[in-house]
């Protein structure tokens, strides 16, 4: 049985005469051990969906089942043992220590005076170790960077010991290194048997690391499937981005305005990759055969134009040289 099953769910906000519906007829499910990425443009209802299935907002219509039990039958206390969330909002109190925050994550289990049992302490210890934040335990929240705070919030969610973890934009505001670190951490957590749902804009990392994608689009049914399938049949690009911006979103590259100049390149490895990127940025079209040929060796670049041969030592000089040759 799925940990979470959503049937014909409509989400949105109640209005005076008419409800404002953002997404309707959403039918999806979460299974243990999986990371699912919820993707879509801004305003398509990703956060609303996450808040609705975590019980923070009321659904307009439809069913949300946890282990087969409908959400309405579960109290806030029951829910807190089934599902934990990491939202985009920061904790209000910045003077809490990391350890205090994670201790608050044990709220569903600790005694009425907040006393921790030996088991509570073990779980907190495990959550801190799992997220590699031991060195932060005594820091105050306002001392943390965004990436550190994100990991601390994930540790809080882990300390809640739930089978489902929802994360709203966990990688926003993070640099690539931290993004990958957080995603690898989630991957590792999912492998321990939890189901993880993240909402994200980030294609490269999430398509590589999630097992399934749910794609939300305006006025269209939710599309779901394995990332690679959705990429290959073009669904991903179609739902997420309007065409015509010259972005190759799936690979994260940008096509610049073409100058009409063409070059051919011969080389391999990193040096080939970066040379291509620099040439593309400067409007060159890289072709198999061209009057101007660039040959990349281990130490230099060789430019062949007709009978002439030039040697340059850096990409900067290569660009200058090419510009000289082609504008004369």
């Amino acid at each position: 049985m799925s940990l979470l099953e959503v049937k014909n769910l409509s989400i949105g906000y109640p209005g005076k005469d008419q409800n404002k519906i953002i997404q309707s007829d959403v039918s999806v499910y979460l299974e243990s051990g999986q990371i699912v990425s919820l993707m879509g443009q801004n305003g398509v209802g990703k956060t609303t969906f996450i808040k609705t299935i975590s019980g923070l907002l009321n659904p307009i219509k439809g069913e949300i089942l946890f282990d087969g039990r409908p959400l309405e039958q579960l109290s806030a206390a029951d829910m807190s043992k089934k599902l934990s969330v990491v939202l985009t909002e920061k904790p209000y109190a910045q003077n809490l220590s990391v350890l205090e925050l994670i201790t608050i994550g044990r709220h569903p289990y600790s005694s009425w005076m907040g006393m921790l049992s030996a088991h509570d302490k073990e779980v907190i210890d495990w959550a801190i170790t799992e997220t590699h934040i031991n060195y932060l335990a005594n820091k105050k929240l306002f001392e943390l960077s965004d990436g550190q705070l994100q990991k601390v919030m994930i540790a809080k969610a882990l300390a809640q010991e739930t089978n489902i973890i929802l994360l709203d934009e966990p990688a926003a505001h993070l640099d690539l290194y931290n993004k990958i670190e957080v995603m690898m951490l989630l991957r590792q957590i999912a492998q321990s048997g939890k189901a993880i749902l993240i909402s994200t804009h980030d294609m490269q990392v999430s398509t590589q690391l999630s097992d399934r994608l749910w794609l939300f689009n305006f006025n269209e049914a939710v599309k779901q499937g394995t990332p690679e399938d959705l990429i290959m049949d073009g669904t991903l690009e179609k739902t997420l981005y309007l065409n015509g911006y010259g972005y190759d979103m799936v690979h994260g590259t940008v096509d610049m305005i073409k100058s009409g100049r063409t070059v051919s390149i011969n080389g391999s490895g990193d040096r080939l990759f970066w040379t291509q990127q620099a040439l593309r940025r400067n409007g060159y079209t890289v072709q198999e055969k061209s009057e101007v040929a660039v040959i990349i060796s281990d130490s230099a670049w060789e430019v062949n134009v007709g009978e002439q041969t030039f040697h340059v030592e850096s990409i900067e000089n290569l660009l200058l040289k090419l510009n000289n040759i082609l504008s004369s």
């Binding site: 909002e89 904790p91 709220h107 569903p108 031991n134």
Partner: protein, 352 residues
């Protein structure tokens, strides 16, 4: 690893709390010993241990005046501080205080009606001494209780805490207007009686009044300690609190009732004592550098009581017959200190 940290912080806070407790007792003794008549500390000890100082007039002063006043000061200080703390956390607003929901305005309106209309009914001025003070207590109590009722009703229907805050502010404005109208049509001596009530006073409670005051406030304080855990979850924001299993409506209602009973009782017996409830939680957070309510609540209770004793000590100006209004003293001596701490700390929000 976690055990070490937890044990270290626990033993640190236990030491701090014991230190504060000792400080409170010291302040209590000093407060008892000084006044228009100075009584030696050793005699005060003797009074506590043997029940007498072997001087009848000192016994009388201690038993009937200083002890009731000192106890009132401790409880008022603790009650106002802890309700201020709860309101600030609940509303996530550093400017919130025990009176933010309109409790003191309600009490003020009740008292104003009793004083000003009592005159027209003719009964008020005839009542003197005990009867009159109980009438004021009842009027203020009814006033704050009705505000509490309306706010609780609103709290059980409204989802958003800030809306509640604004409703409270509107209450304050409306009852302030009512009081002005009543004042406009009343006689000078009644206005004076009202103004004196609004100064606040710690020294007007007799043992009979204390027999009501002490149990209510003590219960309220115990209850606030029990609310520490839900208040801690509120520190993450309401959404996180709910996702951690907090029943938001129930918790909010409990916090509001707890605050209103504490602040309402204080106002009913001692008048509206401003400033203290807003400033003391900040002072405590900044001085002790913690936001964890499991420690903060007892800290605020002890520190609030201690500081109120100190302010009361300043208000009675050793060696002089007259006592300054407590309201003036708290703000006059408290405000510069808070400003100093703020300037030193730079950012109020970091102390949350």
């Amino acid at each position: 690893m976690i055990n070490q940290y937890l044990e270290a912080s626990k033993s640190k806070w236990v030491k701090v709390l014991i230190g504060l407790g000792v400080g409170l007792i010291l302040c209590l003794l000093i407060n008892l010993s000084f006044g228009s008549v100075s009584i030696e500390l050793s005699k005060v000890f003797a009074f506590f241990i043997g029940g007498t100082t072997e001087n009848d007039s000192w016994d009388l002063i201690l038993r009937n005046f200083r002890l009731p006043k000192a106890l009132t000061a401790v409880l008022v200080g603790s009650a106002l501080s802890v309700s201020g703390l709860q309101m600030q956390t609940l509303f996530r607003n550093p400017l919130a205080g025990p009176y933010v929901l309109g409790i003191s305005s309600g009490a003020g309106l009740g008292v104003a009606i009793a004083i000003f209309l009592g005159f027209y009914v003719g009964g008020f001025l005839e009542l003197s001494g005990i009867g009159r003070s109980w009438l004021l207590v009842a009027a203020a109590g009814v006033g704050s209780l009705s505000v509490l009722l309306v706010i609780s009703l609103a709290a059980s229907r409204i989802k958003d805490s800030v809306t509640l805050l604004i409703i409270g502010l509107m209450f304050g404005a409306a009852s302030g207007a009512f009081v002005s109208i009543l004042q406009f049509f009343s006689q000078a001596e009644n206005i004076q009686a009202y103004v004196i009530w609004s100064f606040g006073s710690l020294g007007s409670l007799s043992w009979t009044e204390l027999s009501v005051f002490i149990p209510i406030i003590t219960l309220g304080l115990i209850f606030s300690i029990l609310l520490s855990k839900p208040l801690n979850t509120l520190l993450l924001g309401e959404n996180y609190a709910v996702s951690l299993g907090l029943n938001m409506k129930k918790t909010r209602l409990l916090i509001i009732i707890n605050t209103a009973v504490l602040a309402g009782t204080v106002t009913a017996f001692c008048g509206p004592i401003a400033f203290f409830g807003i400033a003391l939680p900040h002072l405590t957070r900044m001085l002790f550098n913690t936001s964890n309510h499991l420690f903060l609540t007892p800290l605020v209770i002890l520190f609030g009581g201690t500081l109120m004793l100190l302010f009361d000590f300043i208000a009675q100006l050793p060696g002089i017959e007259t006592t300054l209004p407590i309201n003036a003293v708290t703000a006059l001596f408290g405000a510069p200190f808070v400003i100093y701490l703020l300037l030193r700390k730079r950012n109020l929000y970091y102390s949350y």
